[in-house]
């Protein structure tokens, strides 16, 4: 059975990119949300294996969205995504207990290496 991904990003770019990258892999995108609010609702309905979550969004941003989802399920697998990825933001993401912050645009090798690390983390 394929592992499932939920994309939360106000732009359709990542959704398009991701669908192309994971074609033929063990992953499938089962939902996409254009805001944090919509993303939280979809997460509750779909319970995906991985969430790919953009930080800069209108309304509640990716960090707040992650905080809300983590409060409901501390073991959820979240990959944060941002065009901005400086040392301060990375440390903010780490403080929340999240391990992965990937720069936009996504790169296939980096994405799959990250998914592999998440799998290893889960199997421990």
């Amino acid at each position: 059975m394929k592992k499932t991904i939920l994309v939360i990003d106000d732009s359709p770019f990542v959704y398009h990119q991701l669908n192309g990258m994971i074609e033929g892999s063990d992953y499938e995108v089962i939902g996409s949300a254009k805001s944090g609010e919509e993303g939280i609702e979809l997460y509750r309905q779909l319970k995906p294996d991985v969430i790919i979550l953009d930080i800069i969004m209108p309304g509640i941003d990716g960090l707040e969205t992650a905080e809300i989802i983590l409060a409901e399920d501390k073991d959820v697998n979240i990959i944060m995504l941002s065009s901005l990825f400086d040392a301060n933001l990375l440390s903010e993401v780490k403080k929340m207990g999240l391990t992965f912050l990937l720069p936009k645009p996504l790169e296939k090798d980096v994405l799959f290496a990250t998914l592999e690390m998440l799998e290893k983390k889960q199997s421990k």
């Binding site: 106000d10 732009s11 359709p12 770019f13 398009h16 990119q17 192309g20 800069i56 969004m57 209108p58 941002s82 065009s83 901005l84 990825f85 400086d86 040392a87 301060n88 933001l89 720069p103 936009k104 645009p105």
Partner: protein, 150 residues
């Protein structure tokens, strides 16, 4: 860090990220470029590096960007502005990352406003200048207003 460093970082970041996104080279032009019609996108930063960046791109450039980001040539869709906004977000984010890391600061980006009006948008800032870029796929101009505290 001085103003020349800010200019250099913005120019280098824009050229490098553009090359990766569209797979085509673009060069900085010292000569100012004006457009009769253009797609405008405004993005702001807040924090130690406080700025507005007002992007104008001609229609050839805009269409190429959208096609490259969609990965198809499917014509226009109602999501096109979202792709243009994302393009500006990525360009600005990479430049601000470099500035933040150099300045040890934590400035943040706003959500891009596609279709923003141009008149005087960067005038609230003491430092203002214009960066122009030329390429075979079209041209882009970025009006920048900024101030920073170290």
């Amino acid at each position: 860090m001085c103003d020349n460093d800010v200019h250099r970082i913005l120019i280098e970041s824009f050229i490098s990220v553009l090359g990766r996104l569209i797979g085509s080279s673009i060069e900085y032009s010292a000569k100012k470029i004006d457009f009769l019609t253009s797609k405008n996108v405004l993005i702001r930063t807040r924090g130690n590096f406080s700025a507005c960046l007002f992007f104008c791109m001609d229609s050839d450039f805009e269409h190429t960007i959208i096609e490259c980001m969609k990965g198809t040539e499917n014509g226009c869709s109602n999501e096109d502005d979202l792709f243009v906004g994302e393009f500006v977000n990525i360009l600005s984010g990479h430049a601000l990352t470099k500035l933040n890391n150099l300045m040890g600061s934590s400035s943040r980006l706003s959500v891009p406003e596609v279709g923003a009006l141009s008149k005087g948008v960067c005038e609230e800032f003491q430092k203002q200048y214009t960066l122009c870029f030329k390429s075979t796929i079209g041209n882009m101009r970025v009006d920048v207003g900024y101030e920073y505290r170290l």
